[in-house]
Subunit: 456 residues, 2 copies
């Protein structure tokens, strides 16, 4: 029997104290990443050259289902968690659907998105291991903002390579990072060999995420007591994000319901994993029948139209080779406004789960996401991030199916962030100048053929 409340919030004592490592419960474990040089499975030691030791251990942990959240991280989580679980009653009314729609509102985090959930433990582990600084890259700026906040919280210096065109055109996120005390560097820069080489060729180059990653990793490798931190794709990031779903599980209990469908938007996979894995645990262990839907942009469809193949996590080929659904690491996604979803591949765990039929994926066109976003804003009052709008659109589509079929299903999606700093995108939508980006099968095939030439 559904509880009629609008919002459900756990008390501080009810906030989970361990993250859920789904790999321990998977029958088919994901294959291990391979060392890019030797092509042998990477070891914790290999990974710990780049990442913190603890993150490296978590990345390769296939046995422990529960990883304790350090006390200091839990204290930081309390600054914004538990985040509300909200029944989207006004959206339900607008759709005239028998479905019950719930969303987990991660936009109330001080940086406006779920990214903080992994930035905090990564900064904490760095501090604990005597690492003095962390480097990272950022495009739109959500991850860089979260890591800047976390670095300040734990006393770790943060250096963020921000794609130069974003640095110039998205000053708001840059300023937020600087307000938190981070060093934000426009990439390409003269602080690394990679950056200098590119600038020598083209002094006016406005940068790319690939270049920014190269710079951040190079700096981490060449600076004493410095490591690199990543905000998605990797398994330890997904692990940290399970705090979302673990809270939601208890909150859905408060609401007196269990989701038939769980939805997250999909870039590298961390927010989707975060909301889905704790519920998927009941599917794996108890045979619960729940559908898990990853909503990706039609312009970057690695899950729906990509191939399962070994591939690099970055454009430059610095990372281990990862077994994943990919469009090829050289894939150049169109300039959609959901910058956080413009990534060529899916994390290894999600890739294995998709391969095994334990989850599904849908692709959503840009104009449809903004239509859904405006309806959501006008009903539930929150202007969603362009990324999160993919999950909203998928949830609306499912709710409309319920209406057609006269079925009362319970839908849960993750609102990964708000869009208050993405209003130029809304402007474009409202003025009618926004377009979809079509991607032909030929383009996808060509890119994957290219990948197979490099990695066979």
């Amino acid at each position: 029997m559904a509880n009629k409340q609008k919002r459900f919030i756990l008390t501080e004592n009810e906030i989970p104290t361990a993250w859920y490592n789904i790999v321990a419960d998977m029958k088919n474990k994901p294959m291990l990443p391979l060392h890019p040089g030797t092509r042998k499975p990477v070891t914790v030691e290999d990974m710990a050259h780049i990442f913190t030791l603890e993150a490296s251990k978590q990345e390769l942990n296939q046995t422990d289902a529960w990883i304790e959240i350090p006390e200091a991280v839990r204290e930081q989580y309390k600054n914004y968690r538990c985040t509300p679980l909200v029944r989207a009653t006004e959206l339900e009314k607008a759709l005239d659907t028998p479905a019950h729609i719930y969303f987990k509102n991660e936009s109330v985090s001080p940086v406006g998105s779920h990214k903080l959930n992994s930035a905090l433990p990564q900064a904490y582990y760095a501090k604990k291991e005597g690492i003095e600084s962390l480097t990272t890259e950022t495009g739109a700026g959500q991850w860089g903002t979260a890591l800047s906040y976390a670095g300040k919280a734990f006393g770790v210096d943060i250096k963020v390579y921000m794609v130069k065109v974003s640095f110039q055109q998205k000053p708001y996120r840059r300023s937020i990072m600087q307000t938190f005390g981070a060093n934000v560097i426009a990439s390409p820069s003269d602080t690394t060999k990679a950056g200098r080489a590119i600038l020598a060729k083209d002094p006016d180059y406005t940068g790319s995420l690939g270049t920014a990653i190269s710079e951040a990793i190079e700096l981490a490798l060449e600076t004493p007591n410095c490591r690199y931190a990543l905000g998605s794709v990797l398994s330890h990031v997904s692990l940290h994000q399970t705090i979302i779903g673990l809270e939601a599980e208890k909150q859905m209990e408060m609401a007196g319901e269990y989701p038939d469908i769980v939805i997250g938007c999909f870039g590298g996979g961390s927010n989707f994993s975060g909301i889905a894995f704790p519920f998927m645990r009941h599917s794996l262990l108890e045979g619960k029948q729940t559908r898990f839907i990853a909503a990706e942009p039609a312009s970057c469809p690695k899950l729906t139209r990509g191939q399962f193949h070994m591939d690099f996590g970055d454009e430059a080929g610095y990372t281990p080779l990862l077994p994943m659904y990919t469009l090829g690491h050289n894939f150049k996604p169109a300039a959609i406004h959901a910058g956080g979803l413009r990534y060529h591949g899916a994390g290894v765990t999600v890739s294995q789960l998709l391969k095994d039929g334990l989850m599904e994926a849908v692709d959503i066109k840009q104009l449809d996401t903004f239509k859904a976003a405006q309806l959501f804003a006008q009903t539930e009052g929150i202007v969603p991030a362009p990324e999160s709008s993919h999950a909203i659109c998928a949830a609306i589509n499912e709710a409309l199916k319920c209406k057609e079929e006269g079925k009362q299903k319970t839908i849960l999606f993750n609102l990964s962030g708000h869009g208050l700093i993405d209003m130029t995108a809304y402007d474009q939508y409202l003025s009618g100048t926004m377009t979809n980006f079509e991607l032909t099968q030929e383009e996808i095939d060509a890119n994957i053929a290219e990948l197979k030439k490099i990695i066979n």
Copy 2:
């Protein structure tokens, strides 16, 4: 004995069901506003030409201490309330103060500020009274955004006159209003006589808040079934904002403390009143010893350096004459970044309370507010609005006094909103190009002399 939790949140059932009307409990009632033509006390009928009938009744209600919150408004409140009460433990540590600092976090509202608390009932009353559209003006955009949201929630058309220079230079807030479905008009416009007259003189005029108010009121007066809505200054707005303090009262109980000092930033007075009045009730009725501090900008010091005098609420002189602390309605405040505090006068209730010594006021310089804001961001993780930073700065000053005197006091302030859409101001601060604005006694005296010539 203080509870050690970080955040305190009420359950939905504990959210207050009535607002607190402090005027009913005041020994010296505020004088009634005067009709600008007849100079006689205004009646509900006078006011209801401009405002909704219910808001007009509330404005002049001096007898009922509790006004029920309509069920439909309470339902809407549940979308974001109860807002968290947070113990600022990290800020306390950074200041090394024995003081306990708490803040009420109104920035988690979907529009990012407390303004929604009054926008919702005003839109609801309009709908209930058969009013089809509401007009208003907005400078920085916080109030316009809140009213746009509320209008969509209750099915009332919203027309917002936005000062043209803000319309052009602050596109984010404009887009948010448009996303909610509001009609946003750059003022001066050709939609009103007032606007056309100004444009005829100077087609390139970039507007002022005074002109925008004139346009909004003119449209409300000349359009059938249309009224005007104001977001601060008036007593019914303060009434609606008491939801902040009423929640905080219960939350402080959860925390096991009672504030020695309550602080709010001060523009027209609504967010200060909102947090202060429910606690002031105990001072009025039970003689509790609590200090109430309004923190205003040094560049717009009506409370600390203005005079108590009858004055208009707007530059054009359309509103009733209000007995208030004022710098004169022709006062032109400097272009500080806390746009929401650039107002010449204080609401009539607060003015009476200040006159009677029941509260105090401090003025804060712009550079000090941003220094406080950055410290707050780096400790508590939230980038505050420039307006709210005045309250933060006043709270820090009091906490440092506690340290000096070795006293453990409990300080509560209102974080009225976040600053994520105000990052250009932070940029200016971080780059060292921000300045204070000094105001000489001669300038203030001249302006008040001018006022006394107009209204004697």
